[in-house]
């Protein structure tokens, strides 16, 4: 059954919260090196879908497999992260009392056991990678600042930087450009395309401008179900999508900060 080229497969996933079905029988297949956009009106279950993949929410039925044959449906968050699935949350979540550099240090791909970290020394190679990452996210001159003191955009970048240092195979991004300026948004988009050369990415986004500019393949969700999957043109041409979005477009754009 498993396609050799797919890195992530969600089969018939259903999520229930106290009787309310947030996701109903959703399936999703992600190929290696794919940049996939997940869109849909509020309450469509996009964020919940990311939660299922990264282990934050357990589906009541259905299965999620990683890299062809690893069943991650029942695995814990940290195990899933260790396997190579990274997650960026909607609100920037960095460690505010630690410095930028310290934030990056603990995000580095490394052995994450108690004893490994207790005796870990910062290797020259690791240092180089962190420096490079700092340059890339434009925080090189703030490496010793407390992360809590950064601006909102800087925090977003820091979190992306942390995620890249984790070197995951799949990146799950929840509204990465929320609160960014146009320039920052463009830069992020380019970065995502660059990353997608070696890794797979799933982006949940409300900013249609951004989606249109950078998406190759788009999945539309509605009321917890798959509505349409295809290229941006396919999706835009689809009647049902238009129906869901028309008249609702304004709402969706206005309340970007909720999902």
């Amino acid at each position: 059954m498993s396609q050799p080229l797919s890195i992530l497969q969600c089969n018939d996933v259903t999520v229930e919260f106290d009787g309310f079905k947030a996701i109903q029988g959703m399936s999703l297949t992600l190929a290696k090196g794919e940049l996939r956009f997940l869109i849909g009106p509020n309450g469509a279950g996009k964020t919940t879908m990311l939660d299922v993949i990264c282990g934050k929410v357990r589906p009541s039925t259905g299965q999620v497999t990683f890299n062809g044959d690893i069943d991650i449906t029942r695995k814990k968050e940290h195990q899933i992260a260790e396997l190579g699935i990274g997650r960026k949350f909607q609100a920037p979540s960095i460690f505010p009392s630690m410095t930028v550099l310290e934030n990056l240090e603990i995000a580095l791909r490394q052995r994450r056991g108690v004893f490994a970290t207790l005796f870990a020394r910062l290797q020259a190679e690791e240092q180089k990678r962190m420096k490079r990452q700092l340059e890339m996210i434009g925080l090189a001159d703030q490496e010793d600042s407390r992360a809590g003191g950064l601006s909102h955009g800087e925090k977003q970048w820091l979190e992306i930087g942390m995620m890249l240092l984790q070197e995951p195979d799949i990146l799950l991004l929840d509204e990465p450009v929320a609160g960014m300026t146009d320039k920052e948004t463009d830069k992020t988009g380019e970065l995502l395309q660059e990353i997608a050369r070696e890794r797979s990415i799933v982006v949940v986004e409300h900013d249609m401008e951004f989606v249109r500019s950078f998406a190759s393949k788009v999945t539309v969700m509605h009321e917890g179900k798959l509505l349409k999957e295809g290229t941006m043109e396919d999706v835009q041409r689809d009647d049902r999508v238009a129906e869901v979005y028309l008249g609702k477009r304004r709402d969706a754009d206005a309340s970007r900060s909720t999902a």
Binding site: C54, K56, K76, E77, H78, Q79, A81, E82, G86, R87, F89, S93, I94, F95, P96, S97, M98, E102, N103, E105, I106, A107, R112, G113, V114, T117, L118, F119, A120, L122, D144, S145, R146, G148, G149, M162, Q166
Partner: protein
């Protein structure tokens, strides 16, 4: 480094300046400083508030007290067992006639209990306030059991009436001085260990857990493991401190393990300054010194002072006296940067 060296020298030189009684007091305070260091590791650095450290302290203390009691009874039944109606030494008491066994138990038993508790609670993601209240429940369970099993534990009286350790008389000033030096050495060792832990990547993960436990999980760390390990370590430190306490004070009773002493231990750290090791240790020494100085002359005033101090520090000076001193010094230099070492304690 120079400051720490000076502090160590001062501690080693203290016997030359202090009377036996004062030295004994200082030794007791230093034992308390060890508990404070352990508490700081889990509270100041990891953000877990345990109001149950009195138990771990107490278990360590009881282990040592059992050895001392058997040593003092010289083969006969310890006095309290007699008046509780026991006719022979209970089985679990017997190995405590060995000093080595007692010391090992004083460290291992609190650590194991913490490991056991931590294994379940942290894995089940009981944290923040819930964990804190759970530790209080544990305190009630332990003290009620200890008090209830008088024949085996000495009940509310606890265990007291010791005479010698490893053949040396506990009453002699030489032994006391020796025990003082042992306490200083242990404190330094624990302090160095804590410094290492805090500075290591492990320590950074701990702080990350304090800032956002779930976020740590999505980076790929298992916070439960880290919390368990640090909680266990902290309990072991408390156990060591308990053993030293018994040697200096000559008694342990459930009243040292209850809810009030457990909260007081947290108070030392809060007032000294959580999140800095030196603050925690100094808090323990200073507060206890002040207590023994002032509580006598003004028992009522002391309680007011203690309560007010607690409220003011927690509400307005979350970084304790160390934080306050830091602010004053920085203020003088007119140097305020983003780097200022104030720590935000996020919602838990």
């Amino acid at each position: 480094m120079a400051g720490y060296a000076a502090a160590a020298v001062a501690l080693f030189a203290a016997p030359m300046f202090l009377s036996d009684f004062r030295l004994n007091l200082l030794a007791k305070f230093l034992a308390f400083a060890i508990v404070a260091l352990g508490l700081d590791l889990i509270w100041g650095y990891t953000g877990i508030l345990s109001l149950g450290h009195g138990i771990f302290f107490g278990i360590g203390a009881y282990a040592m007290a059992m050895y001392l009691k058997l040593e003092a009874s010289g083969g006969r039944l310890p006095d309290f067992m007699g008046w509780s109606g026991l006719k022979e030494l209970p089985l679990f008491w017997q190995p405590f006639s060995s000093f080595g066994f007692a010391v090992a138990m004083g460290i291992v038993m609190p650590a194991l209990l913490a490991l056991f508790l931590g294994f379940f609670t942290f894995r089940n993601r009981i944290r923040g306030v819930y964990f804190t209240i759970l530790t209080q429940a544990l305190v009630i369970i332990t003290t009620t059991l200890l008090v209830g099993q008088q024949a085996f534990t000495g009940g509310t009286n606890g265990v007291t009436g010791f005479s010698k350790i490893l053949g040396a008389s506990l009453a002699s000033p030489d032994t006391k001085r020796m025990l003082y030096f042992v306490t200083v050495l242990v404190l330094i060792a624990v302090f160095v260990a804590c410094r290492y832990i805090v500075g290591s990547r492990f320590g950074k993960v701990l702080r990350a857990i304090r800032d956002g436990e779930n976020r740590v999980r999505f980076i790929g760390y298992n916070p439960a493991m880290y919390q368990m390990v640090i909680f266990t370590l902290s309990a072991a430190f408390a156990g060591i401190a308990g053993m030293l306490f018994v040697l200096h004070v000559g008694i342990i009773s459930p009243s040292m393990m209850g809810i009030v002493p457990s909260i007081e231990m947290v108070l030392w750290v809060a007032i000294g300054g959580r999140g800095t090791l030196i603050g925690a240790a100094m808090g323990a020494v200073l507060l206890n010194w002040a207590k023994s100085e002032f509580s006598t002359s003004y028992p009522e005033g002391w309680t007011y002072f203690l309560g007010a101090m607690f409220v003011i520090v927690v509400v307005f000076l979350p970084n304790g006296l160390t934080g306050l001193l830091g602010k004053i010094k920085l203020g003088k230099k007119r140097r305020v940067t983003k780097n200022e070492p104030t720590i935000e304690y996020p919602a838990m």
